[in-house]
Amino acid sequence: MLQARKLAIGYGARDVAIDIDLAVARGEVLCLLGPNGAGKTTLFKTLLGLIPARGGEIRLGGRPLADLTRRETARAMAYVPQAQVMEFAYTVLDLVLMGRTAHLGPFAAPGRMDRERAEAALADLGILDLAHAEANRISGGQRQLSLVARALAQDAPLLVMDEPTASLDLGNRLLVLEKVRALRERGYGIVFSTHDPDQARELATRVAVIAHGRLAAYGTPGETLTAETLSDVYGVPVRLERTESGRLVVTNSNAGSD
């Protein structure tokens, strides 16, 4: 559904990373890992078509991303940004209704059908009771789920999530992850970035590690989430332990005292 070939990303005249090949299809979860500043956000913005690629090609639904209108792109791919406080006091329902924009005529505002779609998306995530709450006055996890609901209301088969669990407390993190897993099972294609290798192990069908100006590793979680790769990428010698349930525990292998 979304493919990048020989992609070079960056701002202005500077390459942040080059030679990136990756792909995600329906029912697949592609997880982006990498240290801060390695270009995860730049890659996200490039994949979303918000900044132009510096080289190579991105295809969405078989067509070059650069040839698609914003409207066509939005109908194929929905963006879930990190939840932030907004300047205006929109209700959760208002916010989710904005997800319908790509399905509206150029001069139209959402109608009854759009409202029903928005409410269905909220019900889907179990937060319909928040519809009339002010989006700035609910918890970070609820706000993040509202943005996921907005992406669902967008009726796009591919969801692109920028660190959906960053700055969430433990309960909200578990809640959001559970919803992401449910969406994967319903056949959505998902791209998400994270700092937690265990999240990648748990959710991803494929992992892309961005570091040192290139794709440092790309493959299944088993192939990519190794002590060597993570040590190299993050610049800290790490030791990986697997718990009985299969979870990954990452520790600093220099600091280990046991």
């Binding site: 918000l50 209108t69 205006f88 929109y90 009339h132």
Partner: protein, 338 residues
């Protein structure tokens, strides 16, 4: 629940429309030659049935109503421009002054007064000044290309607006202190005293031309308030919508300033009051701001021409009323945007 919210905002808009009609009637009744509401209504009926010849007919249709209609248009224009800039720049503290529009239009008009041009040419110069300022601001912002386009645009607006202010000061120094300076000063404080029916005929189509694209794109303009990246990802052609909003809001502001002089505060305060009534959604704030801005300026202008023996400058009245209202809004409505 959702249906109720839609219905509630429709009711609020209907009430605001009735309120505007009431202020227009009240303004038509009051003046040096007061008339009861019945006489005003029957005179209006006569006018559309062929016209009457009583003194009230000529007062209403040559003096009072053109001025009231101009107040409706200017008030609606300034308030909608303010609401649009606030949504576009995701900042509830901006107003039509922010892009230097008012300053540029002011400079053009006082230059016209200095040169002793006829009224229509003064208005045309004001309009050209406002438009030219925005073009310069926009070109400057593009030339300075930065990550934060909006911030650069606003800063460029402040810089060019300050230059226009310096130009106005220069014109004041050069002006004949007995004839021109009082006219310039009065104009800079805002007034609808000289309005004639012909002026309204020019202002009306220009304001309508500006308001129509804002009304058509109302939903997409609202989505822009989420920021460029999110709006793009939601399917909005950000560049096109933003350029349209700036062009349309500038057109109505420059039109208003060229006919009424500089009237501050309406573009800043009225959209806030509109958001308190109908919430932050632009598709609701736009009509609410238009109706409230119109009613507000009709009331202010009626006070300006009836409260004292002399005409009170409008900018003075809006400042005296607007400043405390804005402080109250800040204290009470912080949660509207934070």
């Amino acid at each position: 629940m959702a249906r109720l919210a839609d219905k509630a905002s429709a009711v609020v808009l209907a009430v605001l429309a009735i309120l505007l009609l009431a202020t227009v009637l009240l303004a038509a009744m009051l003046g040096p030659y007061p008339a009861p509401v019945g006489d005003v209504i029957s005179a209006i009926a006569r006018h559309f049935g062929g016209g009457g010849a009583t003194p009230l007919d000529s007062i209403l249709f040559q003096i009072r109503l053109p001025r009231v209609l101009a107040a409706v248009l200017v008030g609606a224009a300034l308030a909608t421009a303010g609401a649009s800039y606030q949504t576009l720049f995701r900042n509830p503290l901006v107003s039509p002054d922010i892009l230097g529009v008012s300053g540029g239009a002011g400079f053009g008009a006082v230059l016209g007064i200095l040169l002793g041009l006829p009224v229509l040419a003064i208005q045309a110069l004001g309009f050209a000044g406002g438009l030219a300022t925005v073009l310069v601001v926009y070109a400057l912002a593009r030339a300075l290309r930065s990550q934060n386009e909006v911030l650069v645009l606003v800063l460029a607006g402040i810089v060019v607006g300050a230059l226009a202010g310096a130009g106005i000061s220069l014109v004041k120094v050069l002006a004949d202190p007995f004839n021109q300076l009082p006219a310039i000063t009065f104009w800079l404080l805002g007034s609808l005293a000289g309005i004639k029916a012909e002026d309204v005929r020019i202002v009306l189509p220009l304001v309508v031309v500006g308001l129509v694209p804002l009304a058509l794109l109302r939903w997409r303009i609202g989505v822009l308030s989420l920021g460029d990246d999110e709006a793009k990802a939601l399917g909005v052609n950000v560049r096109f919508v933003r350029a349209t909003v700036i062009a349309a809001a500038t057109l109505v502001t420059a039109t208003a300033v060229s006919v009424s002089g500089v009237i501050g505060w309406i573009g800043l305060v009225v959209p806030h009051m509109a958001r308190m009534l109908v919430g932050p959604r632009y598709d609701r704030v736009l009509p609410a701001s238009a109706l409230m801005g119109a009613a507000f300026l009709v009331l202010i202008d009626t006070i300006a021409r009836t409260a004292a023996r002399i005409e009170i400058p409008l900018g003075l009245l809006t400042a005296v009323l607007g400043a405390p209202v804005f402080v109250w809004l800040l204290a009470r409505g912080r949660r509207m945007w934070s």
